[in-house]
Symmetry: C2
Subunit: 452 residues, 2 copies
């Protein structure tokens, strides 16, 4: 039986099963839902076993449990690890929902409810593709499932879990459906995620706040100096001036950049949506490239002196800025932090003292288009959509994906089927049934191509 037919025949049951997951309010950030987390993990176990897993274990952690399942068809065959999460975001403000967040309904061709897309709906497609392959005897590789309950609160437990259970989790590729695609008729694979390197800088001038009349003009003002230093971090071509900053940046091939250039992008609409008259970024790159494949530096917060009611004429003692750098492969967040610190201290003038405090960071992730699993995924999309998926590079960071590569030594294929309109993290989350269906199809085709 072909996958399309299998889906059509079983869709009622698929949705019933998915709804049973959606009805559990597994909000990881709210402690009153602790038991719902456990219930949700247990429901997943039932469903994954019913779908055909050999075994499924729920691992307790210091946080929420991790569900692990596997089906080993042949120890010598390739192994796919599916990663997903069963926790969801809070539903406030609940009055903005048109339907009950945890009572899923179908309307206008969409499933409505918290988690419909992120990530119950998307991860459940993997369970159903897996079921199809098992029930129709088409599964030619081993499959493992790992579902966590803390993705929305930082995956704290998953980092040590991966490191501890690396043998159990051994695999050839990780499949993740927790991202979006460009549009319903424009399939895409998230080929990269940016890393992060956050720094706090503090500039100190005089040892106390001074009268700006008595001292102004003779003693350096730390806010002015901080502005000079921040301003100097980016040149007029939009490039970061820290020596060595770009040294390890992966240069994309002409083919990759050509594909990126095919991403539909309405620059006027983008600007209008943000109410800005012009865009600004690194010379020589498109907007999509600037946020996806190029690193940048921006100030997330700045503070100094007095900005309350009225006007206080003070020459302040200190000024502080929170500076964040988004990194790309193969920049190392620790190396960048060191380069930043060294540079900032070097260029600071002698009339102030500067303190540079590295904060948390995370590594960028990149799945090159030459990776066999990426090629298999491309073929699967072509089978279903009739066109080659566009590689997208997300400007945001999902540090756990970089950690998978570090801990387990394998790439992740980020084959998400969400849409921008799905309202993940917001009221009225939804997920198109068409995407649910096509996602199952693409996944089942992926197994086909990957195990060839």
């Amino acid at each position: 039986m072909e996958i399309k037919d299998y889906i059509q025949e079983n869709e009622g049951r698929f949705l019933d099963e998915l709804f049973s997951l959606l009805r559990i309010p597994s909000i990881s950030s709210q402690s009153e839902h602790k038991e719902d987390m456990v219930r949700c993990a247990e429901r997943w176990r039932e469903l994954i076993l019913a779908a055909g897993a050999d075994k499924c274990e729920i691992f307790p952690t210091d946080g929420n449990p991790i569900v692990y399942a596997e089906k080993i068809v042949d120890p010598n065959a390739k192994t796919v690890l599916v990663y997903g999460h069963y926790d969801v975001m809070p539903v406030d403000p609940v009055e903005l929902w048109d339907t009950e967040p945890f009572e899923p309904v179908i309307k206008d061709g969409k499933i409505w409810g918290r988690g419909a897309d992120d990530d119950k709906g998307q991860s459940f497609m993997h369970a159903k593709a897996f079921e199809y392959l098992v029930k129709t005897n088409r599964l030619k590789c081993n499959v493992k499932f790992m579902l966590e309950g803390e993705e929305e609160i930082g995956s704290t437990q998953l980092y040590p879990f991966c490191d501890k259970h690396s043998e159990m989790l051994k695999c050839d590729v990780i499949l993740v459906s927790d991202t979006s695609m460009i549009a319903s008729d424009t399939p895409s694979i998230t080929a990269g995620l940016r890393g992060l390197c956050n720094m706090i800088v503090k500039v100190t001038g005089p040892d106390r706040d001074l009268h700006s009349g008595i001292f102004g003009g003779a003693v350096a003002n730390p806010i002015n100096v901080l502005c000079d230093l921040v301003s100097g971090l980016i040149d007029d071509k939009g490039r970061v001036t820290i020596p060595g900053f770009y040294d390890d940046v992966v240069v994309l091939s002409a083919e990759e950049r050509e594909l990126i250039a095919k991403t539909p992008f309405d620059e006027d609409g983008y600007k209008k949506g943000l109410e800005v008259d012009e865009l600004f970024g690194e010379d020589g790159y498109s907007t999509i490239e600037r946020t996806g494949i190029r690193p940048n530096l921006g100030v997330c917060g700045i503070e100094g002196g007095y900005t309350g009611e009225g006007f206080k004429t003070v020459l302040p003692s200190t000024a502080t800025a929170n500076i964040s750098m988004r990194l790309v492969a193969n920049q190392d967040s620790h190396k960048i932090a060191e380069l930043f610190k060294k540079h900032f201290e070097n260029v600071a003038p002698k009339y102030v003292k500067v303190e540079v405090i590295p904060c948390h960071g995370g590594e960028a992730y990149r799945c090159g288009m030459d990776v066999p699993a990426y090629k298999a995924a491309e073929k699967a999309y072509i089978d279903v959509y009739g066109k080659r998926p566009i590689p997208t590079y997300s400007g945001g960071s999902i540090p756990i994906v970089a950690h998978f590569e570090k801990s387990l030594g394998v790439k992740s294929i980020l084959c998400g089927f969400g849409l921008g309109e799905d309202n993940i993290h917001s009221p009225n989350e939804s997920y198109k049934i068409e995407h649910f269906r096509k996602g199952i199809e693409v996944i089942s085709r992926f197994y086909h191509h990957f195990s060839e």
Copy 2:
């Protein structure tokens, strides 16, 4: 009888009278002292009449009363207007006082108590110099006294009072003893006060805070842009870059700059006291010139994005800075505000919107050394100290002095006899008896030279 002898003969009474003023807790900023303000004004009237004034009137205002007195010796003679204030600063933290703030005592050659210097002690010297001249028939010019009770809270009532009573207050010069001199053996006259021009600038990028990963690198960050703009306001020679900013700045004569250079100044001690390794200011000027005779620009406050606990990776919508310019004669604060606004709007890049809000300002004041009253004052100091007073230029602003010139058309001579060690506005305020005596002498000699 010479002035020295007169002081010696009457010093006990002088101090008793001054103490009667010091005992009244005339704290203008605290409403529970409303009646003390009136008592203090009345005590002044008694003392000034006893000293020889023809008449003395207490003018009620919407705030504290203004004491006005006069002695007209000859309608065709020159007229001196003495300005002072009878209100004082609060005494908190009172536990840091070694003696009772409003029970003056004499110890170590100093008068201790709130107002001993600022400004009861200093303004009372004028009453006693006046008394000497009257009682010894040496007064050859008309004298007017104007004492306000709101100097420490902004002189709000005095501005309209001057404008309304400009005929009554008509004079040839105003004498003010409400400043300090360089040191006991280094007499000085405050020849200039800086003006003020405050601006708030707001830079807006996108219409809302954005995810710094999704948008960072493609959309201008308003904090970075604000830093660029602020940084561009001062060049690497420490000069303000606003076109026309220096156009009206008075250039001091070589003689004036030579005298300023004689001001004793311990740069190492100055730096140590502020814990800065180096000073920074406009090229080509000394520290004393940079704060006194040169304008400058500094940021008094800056704010944007998130700087609370943790680190929020946001690309903020707006960033704001409070920028203050200290002005010198003959810069006009309104003109400078316009130049600033025009320049800031001109240089702002198109990818942000800027808003420039002028806040309150005040005019600089300068008493040129060629003014006859200044020359008379110089001679008076030479009579008493045996050396020429150094002109000092205060970096701070006393806007009412500039208003006197605007409203009454005359210069003020700022002949203060305080010292940095006097702890004005702080616990344990004091005033050296030697300065009290010498101040009376200098003032009486001033009348002598001025009426010649």
